[in-house]
């Protein structure tokens, strides 16, 4: 059964949205709306850090990787922005070399936008399940640079942050066990980091029911009930959207861990894993607890993964 052996994070400095907003083109009125209406107070942001440095900083926190580099067969980058560097340059290959992962094949998983992270973990499980080496590992890297205007803001949804996460995955190891994964794509053609007003309206309409449906589906596939979920570790977007979603799930809003939203921003594919680290460091889950990770990608893809701590 797929297991998260270890989760590490890198948090760049937190910048107040009052100073970051003008940098990414928000007016004072818009900045106030993203703070008070949507809940974003600080954004993790480090313009001096390169894409390669960001991934290496996240992986540096994995104590369980040291001495096991030769076991890592897959280095998987979950990407929101599909093409992370000018062809044929590859920061991911730089990371592979720097970490000494000589046997790993490295590639990026895309097309689920910010939901690519949970998909990458599921695909890592698939690769490991079918790998002939019983002790093979996968390293999944999540989060990315908000390097360009279209990648710095999702209008009406989120302000993007640059915190990153590294997840060591095994097929049968000790750690948090992946019980189920559900993903649903509702095609909104020609979408990417930017939606036009019609697409945003459509996205807003389908968002709460589609997200609630995949959570219910993943919970059912895991053989548990919604009441069994100790926590939902979400993607850090517009807190108001969660009010609508938990109403459909029949869960109290307190079951959704939203503490990092005002502290980090929406960090692309990394959010659920950043929240996992905060929750485990704060001992908010007990061994044996079930929890769900969620992500939504513009496009639009809705994903939920149920795990046992």
């Amino acid at each position: 059964m797929t297991s998260l052996v270890e989760v590490a994070t890198h948090l760049p400095p937190r910048v107040p949205l009052t100073t970051h907003g003008p940098v990414i083109g928000l007016t004072q009125v818009e900045t106030r709306r993203y703070r008070r209406g949507f809940g974003f107070e600080h954004i993790c942001w480090d313009p001096e850090l390169s894409e390669t440095d960001l991934m290496l900083a996240a992986a540096a926190g994995l104590a369980g990787l040291r001495g096991r580099e030769h076991q890592v067969r897959y280095l998987i980058r979950a990407r929101t922005v599909r093409f992370p560097s000018p062809y044929p340059r590859s920061p991911l290959d730089d990371v592979r070399r720097a970490l000494g992962l000589r046997q790993a094949q490295a590639f990026a998983v895309t097309e689920h936008a910010c939901a690519s992270g949970l998909l990458a973990v599921d695909l890592a499980g698939t690769l490991l399940d079918t790998d002939p080496l019983p002790d093979a590992l996968a390293l999944v890297l999540l989060g990315e640079k908000a390097f360009s205007k279209p990648a710095q803001l999702m209008p009406g949804v989120a302000v993007m942050g640059e915190a990153a996460s590294a997840v060591l995955v095994s097929a049968e190891g000790a750690g948090d066990r992946v019980m189920s994964f559900t993903t649903r794509t509702v095609p909104l053609p020609n979408t990417g980091p930017c939606l036009n007003s019609d697409q945003y309206a459509m996205f807003g309409d389908i968002y709460p029911p589609a997200l609630a449906d995949v959570v219910k589906s993943a919970v059912a596939s895991a053989g548990i009930t919604l009441d069994d979920l100790a926590l939902i570790l979400p993607h850090n977007v517009n807190a108001l959207s969660w009010v609508k979603t938990v109403k459909r799930l029949g869960l109290p809003l307190e079951r959704v861990f939203l503490d990092n939203l005002p502290r980090m921003g929406h960090c692309f594919t990394a959010d659920p894993f950043l929240n996992y680290r905060t929750v485990t460091e704060s001992r908010l889950m007990r061994p044996g607890d079930y929890y769900a990770m969620t992500s939504v990608g513009l496009g639009a893809t809705f994903s939920a993964m149920v795990l046992q701590h």
Partner: protein, 304 residues
């Protein structure tokens, strides 16, 4: 589409009877002219900022030229190589180069054109290896989840807004796409095992391979049944053309440089084997990362 995966409690590797997908159809098209101009604000900003971060000067001639997006290239291939009643479980998009409109996802448009409600995702950032990884993932997803039909869509896109690579193994000369249709063979008449008898295709990745050992290492994992039956061998432009092929009776085709993701699959699509009866081996390599990929499949079994 709702894709649901329950993590298996037992590893599928230990259950080789699980259906394996076989190469069913393959098509390749070059798209010399397109009508989409890559001038939307988001895509232009992403491309220029990426180039700026990498200290690569933008090519001022590239911006106004019209071309074809991945979704536009996929549409005619899907129409030609998939029947409307052929429900697809999985579609994997793979490329070495960026899409013409990098800010816009291709999968949602592709999904709308595909029969069935498949899971769709993309593989990038692996150069020439992305295509092999896509086929490998399709095969492994099928083994884990029992998929019956998968489509791998491969893309090359030549209109780069900066100077492209001149290295032969990385050069991209044209926009092109390939569709690789994989299906689970019907159960054996004798054994009743879906996908049994080793007829599914296989992919193997190997790392730390010195350039002069590429072919020796590439052929090492291939089934003796394939090696001993005069296979068609397609070698990608990442393989040193001076390396001899150590397989007696092999029909060797070396792909010309210029199509890093689709080139070898063009050669497969154009091979003179209409019944797909001969075994097939496809090899490509990345001399920069010292990696080698091998795809092989037995030919269609001849029945008495």
């Amino acid at each position: 589409m709702t894709y649901q995966a329950v993590t298996p409690r037992h590893r599928p590797f230990a259950t080789p009877d699980r259906a394996a997908l076989a190469l069913h159809r393959i098509g390749h098209r070059v798209f010399p002219r397109g009508t989409t101009v890559p001038d939307d604000t988001a895509s232009a900003a992403l491309s220029s900022d990426l180039a700026r971060m990498a200290s690569m000067p933008l090519d001022p001639r590239a911006a106004p030229r019209a071309g074809s997006t991945f979704a536009e290239m996929a549409a005619p291939l899907v129409a030609e190589f998939l029947e409307p009643d052929e429900s697809v479980d999985l579609v994997v998009l793979a490329s070495a180069t960026p899409d013409l409109l990098p800010a816009h996802q291709a999968a949602p448009s592709v999904l709308e054109a595909l029969p069935g409600d498949p899971l769709a995702f993309g593989i990038t950032d692996q150069g020439r290896g992305a295509a092999f990884t896509a086929v490998d993932l399709a095969q492994r997803c099928a083994r884990r989840h029992g998929h019956r039909r998968a489509v791998v869509l491969l893309f090359d896109q030549a209109l780069l807004p900066y100077d492209g690579p001149s290295d032969l193994s990385q050069r991209v000369d044209a926009s092109a796409a390939a569709a690789v249709v994989l299906t689970a063979p019907p159960p054996d008449r004798i054994g009743g095992r879906a996908g049994g008898s080793g007829r599914g295709c296989q992919v193997r990745h190997q790392a730390t391979v010195p350039p002069d050992e590429v072919l020796r290492r590439a052929f090492a994992p291939v089934d003796p049944e394939v090696l001993g039956n005069s296979p068609d061998v397609v070698l990608g432009a990442g393989v040193d053309p001076g390396l001899p092929v150590p397989i007696p009776g092999a029909h060797v085709v070396r792909d010309a440089p210029g199509l890093p993701s689709t080139g070898v699959w063009r050669a497969v699509a154009h091979r003179n084997d209409p019944g797909a009866a001969r075994p097939l081996i496809v090899v490509d390599a990345n001399p920069v990362t010292d990696e080698v990929w091998t795809f092989w499949t037995t030919g269609r079994p001849t029945r008495p």
